[in-house]
């Protein structure tokens, strides 16, 4: 059972369902999606947040389409890959008994007053409903009717009636509903469910800033919380997506964001932790505000430490600061005053040089932090899950990040600790893995099969093309008028039907498409919308469910290739979009059906890298009942975690590591290959054959999936006299001295740490995320060892995010001093007169240099990836600009590698502390389980085929193919290309002088007809 239908709950449900477990998803609101659906955009890609949900929506839709949401309204019956997720909306867990493997859970379901099985979400009831209530989804900034859809494109897409406070049961909605779905007599239900494990993902509440009298919230209309600002930016928001300020609906030209509202503060609230996400979402909101209101919108963010410590977040921050002109003012605003006679607000602040300035802003956004909601705490009590008293988030250990004190109950998402969307998604997969391990024997027992309709034979039929337009939720803007395009498209050759929808990827739009294909018996489908990379599989799957071969489908990317990139030239953008659609229609008319080959899935995983991440992944895979091969190039397991010997929080890293190594080495289903390395690989998803060089010669390993955990290594600093003196160390070297109780440490009078050594520099523009916390822990360890020692940390941004902020507080309270410097004023390290080290740094608050004479100088050096280029070359995995493995999608698939069937974990994906590496390792195993649980895998389709009559056996293809696939079949005296091996690149096709080879789906004819249609524009 998964409690909480936010992004974490949904991802956990999907990973569990795809890994062979039936899932009961309990959500207290009328629809799933949590806070993510309330967001306008999501960083770092600035894609619409609905997009994140939409991208989940093929998965969400699977949930949506199952029994609870009723397949009936799509008359598709057997649709959806599988019906293994049962959603209970308006439901809450009230009692839990039993233990792991056998919980009996009481779920109370409030009446929805609308039968989801009958509701066809036509909206008739809302039109007639006389009662308007504040729209909770839009945080009461907008009115909605008592009976309405929870939010546009909600999943499950059924209406809901809120009787309290004002519905007087006038029954107008009952009469208006043809489907007879409205039933005012519905009673609360209570049900007992028997489940094997529980994942708690109740999410969070944003902090209510009304405690700060100085912020005039909610009295002043132009002071809004960041979530309210998201609604203002959103298309479904109070102003239809136009950036207006609440007081006079004018376009705000100057907006201020105040950071740390309800976080890092013991005074106004007891949230002394950092909420991790506010810095990034403030930058995103500033960028989107500039996009809406034009570049001249002046955006200022008042902050203390800019905490952009995620993958690619530092680039996002630099781009906002240097290219987009977002102003960053390092100052924590306590209060501001309304300017009399205007709706503006005056903020009085201190500039870096210390002079007092007052600026007038049209609007102020309070970047509110995250708190465990009252319901979250209630749920914790019901489940018996202990909560950390200081932060009110779930009490977890860094070595088992998703487990709680109660066996069988797991936790993920913000309820575990404040985190952003990618980390929540990752942690959800980790929770799914944990459940997978616990219930391994029960895998697959409660599965419901999926049936696909027989494929109708369309060969020989004239092409009947249906073109479906999508305006992608309004993000097309005015540049591309989808209605005009649809009208024009009707005249293209072969087109017999056109339709357009605000969001084609949503659940109900899919239903309309299915109906249209059936009614107009279309045999070709074109979707004009966004990039095929994102929704190609979703639409292809819908086409397949309409009984069409999935290859009779094409997408025209009028969003990324027209609407978004020609904002200033609307007419040309329209012309180009029309051309793109014409090209796609021309191509699809010439496409032929293709069949995929079916192969068995090898139930084994190859894990590369024997560090903590690799071992955790292997152990999780093995505990789930699959075979794991762990390849480690050195002679022992442990990796960088071996160097973690100091923890002021009392974590026994080495004890954990030894325990893990013992478990891995003794596990029957894990084969450890030390002093081994991967030399070559071949095959495809489910059937990889990898040769591993071992001391005992080459070993051929057959596996279905692969996990990359090659880890990282500390950067050898090339500045601050490192390497030239023995009192200049890296963090690991210092920890070793502390652990060995070396006199150098006990005798030291003064210790200095320098942060960001090698990180956040032009040649490595990324943040190594773990060094701030590591330095603070080591500093605390030094203070505990010798309280009289002066400990000073020189930093650029103190990024002790989430609950690590408590460490930073503890360090300061114990007398550790923190001095800030910026890239321009780096500390000068030189040999002092007495031969001792001398560090000079300018204190930016006082504008004066400070001279330190440390006995120990520790450099927090960057984290570099290890083995990513080599493994990337062998397995063809993409590596990002900084040399770390590139994940398939930062939001939706943060753990999947670019090649399907491969997953990433640990430092090789991006620098992260041990507890997050462990979570990511379990997540990788969880994701891998969704493939390993399958019996078969489908391959082929887009491959090269030789026309034996035309082949002159000139061997050009044999010499050209980079993968040496073509061979000469002397029985037929012609070349032969094995469809399993062919990678589908088409190099041989264009090299073949006789044009004997044609590539399915990309034949010359298909390309040329698309080209001419495009050029004719």
């Amino acid at each position: 059972m998964v409690v909480g239908g936010g992004i974490a709950g949904v991802q956990a449900s999907l990973d569990l369902a795809n890994a062979g477990f039936f899932v009961h998803l309990v959500e207290k609101k009328p629809a799933i999606g949590g806070v993510v659906v309330q967001l306008d955009r999501s960083y770092p890609t600035n894609e619409s947040a609905m997009c994140v949900v939409c991208m989940m929506s093929p998965n969400l839709m699977e949930c949506g389409r199952n029994k609870a949401a009723g397949g009936l309204n799509y008359e598709v019956g057997a649709c959806g890959r599988h019906k293994n997720i049962e959603i209970y909306t308006l439901a809450e867990v009230t009692k839990v008994e039993g233990g792991p493997g056998n919980f009996t859970v009481t779920v109370e379901k409030a009446p929805r007053y609308v039968d989801p099985l009958k509701c066809i979400s036509c909206g008739a009831c809302t039109e007639v409903c006389p009662v308007s209530i504040p729209d909770a989804f839009n945080l009461r900034m907008k009115k909605t009717k008592a009976i309405s859809l929870p939010y546009a494109r909600a999943i499950p897409s059924a209406y809901v009636l809120f009787k309290q406070p004002e519905c007087d049961e006038c029954r107008k909605c009952v009469e208006a509903c043809e489907a007879g779905a409205v039933d005012l007599g519905m009673k609360p239900e209570s049900m007992i469910l028997n489940v094997g494990a529980i994942v708690a993902a109740p999410g969070f509440e944003v902090y209510d800033p009304s405690h700060y009298d100085g912020y005039h919230y909610p009295a002043h209309p132009n002071v809004v919380t960041s979530l309210e600002f998201e609604r203002i930016l959103s298309e479904g928001g109070p102003y239809g997506g136009r950036l207006l300020r609440p007081s006079d609906q004018q376009e705000p030209k100057k907006i201020a964001w105040l950071q740390c509202v309800g976080s890092r503060d013991m005074n106004h609230c007891n949230n002394s932790y950092c909420s991790d996400v506010c810095c990034m979402y403030a930058i995103k909101q500033a960028e989107v505000a500039k996009e809406h209101g034009g570049a001249e919108v002046d955006t200022a963010i008042f902050f203390m430490d800019m905490r952009t410590h995620g993958k690619d977040y530092e680039r996002y921050f630099n781009r906002a600061k240097n290219d987009l002109g977002v102003r960053f003012i390092r100052f924590r605003v306590h209060s501001f005053d309304p300017v009399h006679g205007t709706d503006d607000l005056a903020i009085r602040y201190l500039t870096e040089q210390g002079e007092i300035k007052t600026e007038q802003f049209d609007m102020v956004v309070l970047s509110v932090g995250l708190e465990t909601s009252a319901d979250g705490l209630e749920l914790a009590k019901t489940l018996g899950v202990e909560v950390n008293p200081k932060t009110r988030f779930a009490q977890t250990s860094p070595f088992t990040p998703v487990a709680t004190n109660k066996p069988g109950v797991f936790v993920c998402g913000v309820f575990q600790a404040p985190k952003d969307i990618p980390t929540s998604t990752m942690e959800a997969s980790a929770a799914a893995a944990a459940v997978g391990e616990l219930l391994a024997p029960a895998r697959g027992t409660a599965m419901l099969g999926t049936e696909l309709p027989p494929e109708s034979d369309v060969s020989g039929q004239a092409p009947r093309v249906g073109v479906f337009f999508c305006s992608c939720g309004g993000t097309m803007g005015e540049a591309v008028d989808v209605k005009g395009l649809a009208a024009a498209a009707a005249s293209y050759p072969g087109v017999v039907y056109t339709d357009q929808d605000a969001v084609a990827c949503s659940a109900d739009a899919q239903g309309d498409m299915l109906k249209a294909i059936k009614e107009h018996n279309l045999n070709r489908v074109v979707v004009a919308g966004c990039s095929p990379r994102i929704f190609g599989p979703l639409f292809r799957q819908t086409v397949q469910q309409a009984g069409l071969n999935p290859y009779l489908f094409e997408m025209a990317n009028i969003r990324d290739q027209a609407a978004w990139v020609h904002l200033e030239e609307p007419e040309e953008a329209m012309a180009k979009a029309a051309a793109l659609v014409r090209g796609a229609v021309a191509r699809v008319a010439n496409l032929e059906p293709l069949q995929k080959m079916v192969f068995p899935m090898a139930k084994a995983a190859l894990v590369v890298g024997g560090g903590a991440a690799g071992m955790e992944a292997a152990r999780s895979i093995a505990d789930m009942g699959f075979q794991a091969y762990l390849v480690e190039q050195s002679d022992k397991l442990g990796g960088q975690a071996r160097n973690l010997v100091v923890s002021s929080r009392g974590y026994d890293y080495q004890g954990y590591l030894d325990g893990l190594i013992k478990k891995v080495e003794s596990h029957p289903k894990i084969e450890v290959l030390l002093n081994s390395s991967v030399v070559d690989t071949s095959g495809f998803l489910g059937n990889f054959k990898t040769t591993v060089q071992t001391p005992k010669g080459e070993r051929l390993v057959e596996h279905g999936v692969g996990i990359m955990a090659t880890g990282g290594q500390p950067f050898k600093p090339d500045e601050y006299l490192y390497g030239q003196r023995d009192d200049v160390l890296t963090l690991f070297e210092l920890d070793k001295l502390i652990a060995d109780k070396s006199p150098k440490v006990s005798g030291a009078q003064q210790a200095v740490f320098i942060q960001c050594v090698g990180s956040r520099e032009p040649e490595r523009p990324y943040c190594s995320r773990l060094c701030c916390t590591h330095s603070v822990e080591s500093a605390l360890a030094l203070k505990k060892l010798n309280p009289a020692m002066d400990v000073v940390v020189l930093y650029r941004e103190m990024r002790t995010y989430g609950d690590k902020e408590l460490l930073f507080k503890e360090a300061r309270e114990n007398g550790v001093m923190f001095i800030r410097f910026d890239l321009g004023g780096k500390p000068r390290v030189e040999k002092g007169g007495d031969g001792k080290l001398q560090v000079t740094i300018t204190d930016l608050i006082l504008g004066r240099p400070v001279v330190l004479n440390p006995d120990l100088l520790t450099l927090a050096s960057a984290v570099l990836p290890v083995g990513t280029r080599e493994m990337g070359a062998i397995f063809d995995l993409e590596v990002d600009l900084d040399g770390f493995f590139q994940e398939s999608h930062s939001k939706r698939r943060p753990v999947d590698a670019s090649l399907e069937g491969f997953f990433l974990a640990g430092l090789a994906h991006s620098p992260k502390p041990l507890d997050e590496s462990i979570a990511q390792a379990k997540a990788a195993a969880g994701r891998a389980a969704t493939y390993l649980a399958r019996e078969t895998v489908e391959i082929g389709g887009v491959v090269a085929v030789v026309d034996q009559d035309k082949c002159a056996v000139c061997l050009t293809c044999v010499r050209t193919c980079p993968f040496e696939v073509p061979i000469i079949d002397y029985t037929v005296d012609a070349a032969y290309i094995d469809p399993i091996k062919c990678q589908g690149c088409g190099v041989c096709v264009s090299e073949c002088p006789a044009k004997a080879i044609s590539m399915q789906n990309f034949t010359d004819a298909q390309i040329i007809v698309q080209e001419t249609a495009l050029a004719a524009g």
Binding site: D213, S335, H340
Partner: protein
């Protein structure tokens, strides 16, 4: 109702007009003030600035006297109120270390305005109103030490107190909201650095006028002195004639209740409030 009363030194000297209005108004609502037996000076800002031991011992003596009296203590002067609360916290701190000595039973220390804005007293005042102060646009000025710091004063609404607005509304006046109700007037620096007072108070005058106020209402005689006395000097220094009478809330209650002595208090102000009150038909 009987309460202990701690007037403080200035109410016997420069602020004896305030003392007069307090006694009259409390009598009018049947609150009997029992002055603390042999009270001494609380040391005000001088003690806590340069002598920590005096800053604690002086108010401590008054505190122990109050405990012996056994009644709740009402304190008009913000500074004396703050010092008594500091002593109370210091005593609790000391007793926390030596719980076996925790014999004293504490009494509540009231700031006068807080005391007067209790629901039952407000009702008592409301019942006795003869001439409501309709049309009198006033901005409430709380000063600093009545509300801050919350760990000492135990005030919940320390950023944005509203009880004086409540009282003014009960009296029929028109309280205006403004953001500077708890900004500092310079307090103890009045004698040593009058120039600082000029800058601070000039800014308060400007903000009060911008908010549309006709007069300021205070509950502490230090604030009254810093706002009332230098008004003429500030008008000269800043070349703008200010006419903003500074009234005690007890004087307004006296007026609203039609007490005969009320007009007598008004001529003790430097900035004569009577023209404004006559214009409003309240005199």
């Amino acid at each position: 109702m009987k309460v202990s009363y701690y007037p403080g030194c200035s109410l016997e000297g420069t602020a004896n007009d305030y003392a007069a209005s307090i006694e009259a108004v409390t009598r009018a609502v049947d609150v009997e003030l029992k002055e603390l037996e042999d009270w001494n000076c609380c040391g005000a800002s001088a003690a806590h600035s340069i002598s920590h031991s005096l800053a604690i011992d002086l108010p401590m003596r008054n505190l122990l006297i109050a405990y012996q009296a056994g009644l709740e203590v009402v304190v008009p002067c913000a500074l004396c109120f703050n010092r008594l609360k500091v002593a109370e916290k210091a005593l609790k701190g000391m007793e926390a270390h030596r719980p076996w000595q925790a014999s004293t039973h504490y009494v509540k220390i009231w700031d006068l305005l807080d005391y007067f804005t209790q629901p039952d007293l407000l009702k008592a005042v409301a019942e006795k109103i003869t001439t409501p102060l309709t049309g009198l646009k006033a901005v409430p000025y709380y000063g600093c030490l009545v509300t801050r710091p919350p760990e000492i004063t135990d005030r919940a609404d320390y950023e944005n107190p509203r009880n004086m607005e409540l009282l003014l509304r009960v009296l029929g006046a028109d309280p205006i909201d403004w953001s500077f109700k708890t900004d500092c007037c310079g307090a103890g620096l009045a004698v040593a650095r009058p120039d600082i007072i000029d800058t601070l108070v000039h800014c308060l005058y400007e903000r009060a006028l911008a908010a549309g106020a006709e007069c300021l209402v205070v509950s502490c005689q230090m604030c009254q002195a810093n706002l009332d006395l230098p008004q003429e000097r500030i008008s000269q220094n800043f070349g703008k004639q200010y006419y903003l009478p500074v009234l005690y809330f007890t004087e307004l209650i006296g007026l609203a209740l039609g007490l005969p002595e009320a007009p007598g208090w008004l001529d003790k102000h430097l900035v004569d409030p009577r023209p404004l009150l006559r214009e409003k038909g309240l005199l």
